[in-house]
Every structure is written in structure tokens, then in C-alpha cells.
Amino acid sequence: MSSEPFKNVCLLPQTNQLTGLYTIIRDKNTVRSDFVFYSDRIIRLLVEEGLNHLPVIPKTVATHTGEDFSGVGFKGKICGVSIVRAGESMEQGLRDCCRSVRIGKILIQRDEETAIPKLFYEKLPDDISERYVFLLDPMLATGGSAIIATDVLIKRGVKPERIFFLNLICCKEGIDNYHRAHPDVKIVTGCIDKGLNEQKYLVPGLGDFGDRYYCI
């Protein structure tokens, strides 16, 4: 079962399989096709974990033998919001679990003059305030763009406790920064790295996720 190393941080169980998958995607000699496949495997695990936090309601159905079965049913609607571009790599994983899920996009880039991340573009479902939101961004380093993206969601009326921030790698510093701004958002992650280097990159990290997933 997943653990909660910090408040509102849900860490996938560190099994042989999961740590083995991370070895593959971290290794710079891994070819892109493998990088994509094994990242997708981890993303799927993150999505499944995130979905587990959604509430359900009791539901009774009739089985093929005619006997009733008292189970549960999904409650509430969800949507995915990816931070362009790397976050888009996680959309397929979400779709694999929720076939017709709505997906919003947010583009945030560093302003070249001030070096501060700035919102460039957003396109979100109209009824997003009624939905549970999976915020998708594979790397949580300083948390700068994730904080802005979450601001956007909250401004659109999404309740913070209905937001789940899914990432593959994060670090203590990023978690602290992000939770200082949005303490009620649950972070779902697969790995907590040592920290950041001077360039504010994750260490040991895996490089630029978007580049490795889409380009290199």
C-alpha cells in the first residue's frame, strides 16, 4: 500500500518493480521507446493511486445468477489538467483508466525578462468547478509552475481538496513550496528525490522529461 511520508503526500509503494522501472527511466542510455513505455507504466500506477482517493457511493446491482451484489459506484466527475508540454505525456495514462475523461491544458513558461513563471494559456472544461481534477506534471522541482496552475484551477472554482497533483518525481523542497501555497492539495508521487542542484533541477532526477518523452 502507498505511504504518506509527508502530510498530504501519497507515495507509491517502493517495490522491486517500481524501483526497477525508475532505474530504467532515469538511465540516460535508455532509448526513447523504452523511456516512453516504462514512464507510461509508472504513470498508470500514479493514476490508479489517484483514482483510489475519489469517493464512492453504495450501489446494489443484480448479478448474472439473479442474486444482488452490494457494491459501490463512482461518485462525481473528474477531469485531467496537464501542464504543457511534459504534463501531456501523462494524459494517455489517465485515458487508459478513464476512457472519455475531459482534459484541460495550461501553458506556463518562464518570462524571459523576469525569469518568473508566467501563465501563457489555459483551456479548461466549463464545468471544472464541479469536478475532481488530476493535475498532471511529471516533475515537481521548485513547484513554481504547479503553484500557478493550481491558482488557475482555484480561481475557476475548483476546491483544493478536490485536486490531486500527480507527478513521477518530486523532492522535499518542491513539496514544501507547493504545500505552502496549496496545503490542501494531495500530491501523488512515485519517488522523492534528494533535492535540487544550483540550476534548480532535481537530483539525481532523470533529465528533461518532456525532451526525453517527445524528442530525444
Binding site: 524501483t19 526497477g20 532505474t23 445468477t65 442474486e67 459506484g73 539525481p204
Partner: protein
Amino acid sequence: MNNKCKDNPTEQQLNNKPPELKDKKGGHKLLTISSNSKYTPPWTTPYIIGIGGPSGSGKTSIASKIVSLINVPWTVLISTDNFYKPLTDAERKKAFNNDYDFDEPDAIDLDLVYKCVCDLRAGKKCEIPVYSFVNHNRISNKKITIYGASVIIIEGLYTLYDPRLLEIMDLKVYVDADLDICLARRLSRDIVSRGRNLNGCIRQWEKFVKPNSVKYVLPTMNNANAIIPSFNDNRIAIKLLVDYITSKLKRKSMEHVQELIRLGKTEKIRSLMDHPMVYILPKTNQTESIQTILLNKRTKLNDFIFYFDRITTILLSRVLDNIPVANYKTIITGSNCEITHCTNIDFNMICGITVIRSGDCFIKSLKMTLPNVPIGKLLIQSDSFTGEPQLHCELLPPNLTQYKKILLMEAQVINGASLIMAVQVLLDNGAKLSNIDVVVYAATETGLRRILNAFNEEIHIYVAIMISEKDLRMGRNSWCLTRFIDTKYFGSE
């Protein structure tokens, strides 16, 4: 009526025997009842029938009549004609001149016949040679592969000759015919069907067939339990024989079902919920919701397939969580940091085996999880009447021993019989018990208990849902007692 039974206890006598004893010479036991006994898979004790008699007496036609009348899947008919020894060049020349003695016991490789039957009896694969009468040699690249049998019928001249074969036969039948009639049959068969000439046939008969029949074949009548007339109307004799065989098979199958029930009951009743070898997928909001969708009879086919694939993907991922680490290595990450002691997993060390057809419901999720995984298949079907599993074919990846993890998949376990057989087949093919992971979507606790008991509690089992014995006793969750998953998944409702 010219058939007589001897040395054969009546049905009444047999019924009075204690159930664990088999009616076999040599005191071979089908089932033992000591408390630490292992499960004996059913196909290791097939019912073996020998049919002997002189050439041309009609053994083949009687054997095939019996096969069709007992109508049991898994009946294997072995003709000793396949086991003629390969000839040397000199012998072959003689054979073409009708000068080679095919009719003495030595011409047939009875050692190999015995080995084949023993292999079948032990549940191993058995390869039957194919003999060409045109070349008088075994066809080197052609063999008939047989795996497992409920009933083995051995038919041929010297079936009742070799004492080792006689020892393992449950029923010995001699087909009796006057040699005149045998000659007449042989002539018409050899001349009409095999294109031989009359003189050659007669010479062969006088020189070899008749003397050998008198010297070696006729005395084997003494080894028989039943003698059947070959001429006129032998329908009643065959009917009696078939009735007898059927009653024996029914009894054997009942004993087997009893044994399965016993396996489920021996252990001091301890819930499998916390058994160290049984992993049950933890209940979460998602797994519970998916379960509800799968059990809802109104769920549409495409939804059923989608959610079944999803839950099996979750389950397979849990199975792989415990994959052994191949080694630890040092890597340089994409951001040029060095990490030592990284877990290195070799996903090529895994292979999947599905039990057709319900295990095939796992193929899509398996391929999603391990795209290049080799997949083997076993066709095992439970006899719908007796519940006894029967192995129809095995298509396994070569060299099973090379895999560190063998995922054996079946959608449902009800009584556990087919999975017990499947595991045994993998073991027979060299797989190590500790490397086999049984992966099942829905299982009854009783079925899992049987599998555990059959393999000394040394086999790992992963299930998404287990229905407890208590639930079933209380009449709850009886949906798990019918095979609905593959029926629905493949749209064959």
C-alpha cells in the same frame, strides 16, 4: 455367447472394497488416505485396456468400437503396429520379398511400448513412432505426441504378451477367432487394401503368421480377463465390456472428485485472508467499483472488457511488485548524476501461461504490462458432468526452466481442479514450483485451499477477489460458482 470372464471380480465385490484401493494387480493404490498425502492428478492413473489376439481377428475394429461406445474424451488408442523395430538393410530386403518375420514378438519394440504407456501413466508427454510399411522403417521426423489420458487402449498382436504390460493393465481382452477366418480376413485386407499379391500373402501366412500365432499369440489368451468372439454377432459381448469399463471409469472419477473435496477440507480451518502464500488485492474505492461493474449483469460488453482489463492490469502489476532483482547497478541519469546500487530488473525473465479460455482474458493486460512476454497455453477442460479436469493440449514456450517467474493465469477458480492440473503440467516441464505465480481474478476459498494443499502450500497465488467459505455456506456470493468471466469477456453469452 462365446465370451467368458475370468479372474475378474464382480461389480458387487468391487463395491465392497475400501474406496482407496484400486482393482489392480500388484496392489497399486489410486489414492492414499494418510493425512500427509499429496494430491494425485487424475491423468496419472489412466484406465488401461489391452486388446490382443491373432492377426486378422478384428482387434482394431473392436478397439475402435469400444472407443466410440465409451465416449470419453482423452481416450488414447495405441496400436503396437506403430512400434515395429526399424529394419536393417538386409532385413528390409527380406521384408520386400515377404521373407521377414513380422509376426514374432521380437519384431515389435515392446520395451518402447511399455515406456510410452508408463510415461502416459506418469502424466508425461509420450511420443509414438510412426512406422512406414512402404519403407519398412520408422518415419524419422514423424511422431504422434500424446499428453495425458483418461483411458489408454493398447491394441495389437502381442499386447497380452509382455508381463510388464500385463502388470499395468486394468483390463485384458483377447479377441478370439479361428485361424481360417483370420487368414480370410488377412487376404482380403492385404490384397485389396494394401495391394499385395496372393502368393506372397499365402507364403507369409504359412511361413510366419500361422506358426507364430500358434506358438506365441494363442497362449496369451490365458492372460486375458475377457475373451471376445470375433465372428458373427459380438455386439452383446462388446456391450457387456463397455458397460463394465464405463462403471469403472465412473467410479474412478467419483474417487477423484472425492479427493478434490478432501483436499479442500483437511487443513484446520484457517482463513486464507492472511495466508502468507495468498495475495488478495486490497479493497479500494476503485477495485470495489470495478468489481461492482463486472458483477452487474446489465454491464455492456465493451464496458465489461474495459473494466476487466483494468482490474487485471492492476492485479498483474501487484504480482510483478515482488519480481526478483536481477542485480544492482550504477547508472548515469539523464541529468548526468551517478546513482549506485540501482535495482535492475530483467523483465525478460517472465513468461505467461494461460489456461484456455478463461486465462486468455488476461492477454491484453499482460501485453500492456509486458509487451514482449512469451505466452504459453494449456487447454484443460472440466468434464461438465464429473467436474474432473482433462488436459487437451499444451503449447508451452521452449525451455520453461529459463524463466524466473511464470505467471499462470485463469480468470476464475471454482473447484481448483484445472489449475492443479496446469501447475502439474508446468512442473512436469521442468518449472520450479517457487517460480510459478498463479494469477486469478475471482476464486473461491475452497478452490484456493485445494491448490495450496496439492502443492504443500508452496505455491504463490494472487487473486483480485476471494469468496470465503463462510459466504458460500451462508448462501452469499454464489455468482462465483459459475464461469461467467470468459463467457462475457468473449461475448459468448
